[in-house]
């Protein structure tokens, strides 16, 4: 087991390192996010001028929701799909298949490294933003240890779910060569159905019914738990169902990959 982890550790490490090599780019898009965040603050402020609360969210809660969800959204990474599609299209996948390592585990380690890299770059910025926000709006923010624990338990499962999902779509590119359009569409849809843009509670009932059957709603659960919008029982139940989703998705995407690999075509060199 230990030697197994050791085998994949370099991929994790190099991936984290890459994030710091290209830190200029990353800091640039983080600043963009901060800018976008402040625009949202002003947007919500004007919306709340006429309402005390919307679907049970006060302005303060809404701002906190938006901040925390976006920090944790770093873990809903679908980069695996782009990496795979590129490796398949350019034929670089062959360089991975000649190594005595599992393709999936390697990709897992790489994406995990990437996420940790981005998270460690994001965290200070979010902390500063949060401090400014709490001070400017004088927001009281209190969480219990149990809430934090439950929220933290969700994070790895969300990461795994999104990885499996991206891995499945990446596999599809063995057949279609290009999934770029599909990938962009998927990312937008997930932003909407996960509650990353606005809390799901704000959607009309009909749409909400559809969304509640998808696993992506759990992406906003940790935030809801910390804001006290979700009971402990609901959170625990959510954890269990999410774990089942991950398990099923894992089996499914492995099967599809195994079948697809037989079809792979690598032209030239």
């Amino acid at each position: 087991m230990r030697s197994k982890i050791k085998k994949y550790l370099p991929f994790f490490r190099t991936s984290v390192m890459n994030m710091f090599i290209y830190r200029g780019t990353i800091i640039l898009w983080l600043l963009l996010d901060v800018f976008q965040f402040f625009m949202m603050v002003f947007l919500w402020m004007s919306v709340y001028e006429y309402n005390q609360s919307i679907q049970g969210f006060t302005l303060h809660e809404m701002l906190l929701y938006y901040l925390v969800t976006n920090l944790l959204y770093v873990f809903s990474d679908t980069e695996a799909m782009y990496i795979m599609s590129e490796e398949i299209r350019e034929g670089r996948i062959s360089m991975m298949l000649i190594k005595p390592i599992s393709y999936k585990a390697r990709l897992y380690s790489e994406v995990f490294g990437r996420v940790i890299g981005i998270f460690s770059l994001t965290l200070p910025i979010v902390t500063i933003t949060a401090a400014v926000l709490l001070w400017a709006f004088n927001i009281p923010f209190a969480v219990t240890g149990l809430q934090v624990l439950l929220a933290v338990l969700f994070v790895p499962l969300i990461f795994m779910l999104m990885f499996e999902f991206a891995y499945f779509f990446g596999t599809i590119s063995i057949h279609t060569t290009n999934v770029f359009g599909l990938a962009i569409l998927m990312n937008v849809v997930i932003r909407i159905v996960s509650g990353q843009l606005i809390p799901l509670a704000l959607y009309p009932k009909a749409i909400l019914t559809v969304i509640s059957h998808l696993p992506f709603k759990y992406i906003s659960y940790p935030t809801l738990v910390m804001l006290g919008k979700l009971s402990t029982t609901d959170a625990l139940q959510g954890l269990l169902i999410l774990a089942i989703w991950v398990g099923v998705f894992n089996l499914f995407s492995n099967l599809i990959f195994k079948l697809s690999l037989k079809k792979i075509v690598v032209f030239g060199g």
């Binding site: 390192m17 298949l97 000649i98």
Partner: protein
């Protein structure tokens, strides 16, 4: 001992042909024309431990496809492959531990990292012990002069340096079997020479079985005892270099360096052409080159008349280049 056994191996690709133009694209969208391309067509061979085999053939003949099946990247359409007793595409990672692969047109190194980092990554992947890693890295460093560029990111390396680094990367775990797919592509003469020399040394030291595809026949002449020639998915020759030369290399080349070429009468060669219709004569810048079939004409019949006519400074007589022999086989078949 037999390390590779391939029997009736086939690989077919399905290609969708798209017609040109907008109309064609729309038409192909609804009714794409399916073409089955036989990249490897019923190939059988065995390779013994310790052999160096040159696997040659024109572009698109099926060389790389064969190698990709031997390395477990591609699954054959039918037929059997065994590498050291294992079916590569079924036990890809087990097979991967025993082989080293260099695809000349790609790199297995991490583009953004310093070269030495790539090597440490490989050390972990192949679980090479510290002692072995140190010893081998020192050995290869000395052979290839890696010290100069080992701390540079891979993307900054020259093609020659990158290729050396790639070869080292494929050998760090001391594989039984080494696949080299065009390892000298795009390299200058000195870099090529260096790579060939090193491969020879490595083969002597570790007795590694090497399978080499290349378009540079000097690689073959320097390194290989055996060549396999593939064309349109079928193996058309499998044997040693001497046989192919003896069988197909019936041409001789005579080069004269003349003092001046003014009074030379090429008419004598016209009569010789009656004996050998493939005879070619070229006169360029005081250098006269005659290529003829040695089974049909004696060297003396060529040299004699020239010496009589004009003053000759130098004569060079050689067998046909391997390149010409192979060219003829590609063109006309066996």
């Amino acid at each position: 001992m037999e390390i590779i056994k391939v029997e009736n191996l086939k690989k077919e690709f399905i290609i969708y042909e798209k017609e040109p133009g907008l109309k064609g694209v729309i038409k192909s969208f609804y009714n794409a024309k399916k073409i089955v391309k036989k990249a490897v067509d019923d190939v059988s061979f065995t390779i013994q431990q310790g052999e160096i085999v040159g696997y040659i053939g024109p572009n698109g003949a099926g060389k790389s496809t064969t190698i990709k099946m031997l390395t477990g990247i591609l699954t054959p359409t039918s037929g059997e492959v065994r590498v050291d007793g294992i079916i590569p595409y079924q036990k890809r990672t087990v097979n991967a531990k025993k082989i080293g692969v260099v695809f000349g047109q790609r790199t297995q190194l991490w583009w953004d990292l310093p070269l030495i980092e790539s090597f440490t990554v490989l050390k972990e992947i192949y679980q090479i012990s510290d002692a072995d890693y140190k010893e081998r890295l020192a050995y290869f460093s000395a052979l290839f002069g890696l010290v100069e560029f080992i701390k540079q990111p891979v993307r900054q390396l020259s093609l020659g340096q990158r290729m050396k680094a790639d070869i080292v990367a494929s050998l760090l775990h001391n594989p039984k079997l080494l696949f080299l797919d065009e390892p000298t592509i795009g390299l200058d003469v000195i870099a090529k020479e260096n790579i060939r020399k090193t491969l020879k040394e490595i083969h002597e030291k570790y007795q590694t079985t090497i399978i080499l595809t290349t378009h540079d026949l000097a690689d073959i002449e320097e390194l290989c005892d055996r060549i396999m020639m593939i064309d349109q998915g079928k193996i058309i020759y499998d044997g040693n270099l001497e046989t192919i030369k003896a069988k197909f290399g019936s041409k001789k080349i005579v080069c004269f360096t003349l003092k001046n070429d003014l009074e030379l009468d090429l008419g004598v060669f016209e009569t010789l052409k009656k004996k050998d219709s493939d005879l070619t004569v070229s006169l360029e810048n005081k250098a006269l080159t005659v290529i003829f079939n040695k089974l049909k004409i004696n060297v003396g019949d060529i040299i004699g008349p020239v010496l009589k006519q004009t003053e000759v400074l130098d004569i060079d007589i050689s067998d046909d280049h391997l390149e010409n022999i192979i060219k003829a086989i590609y063109k006309n078949g066996l």
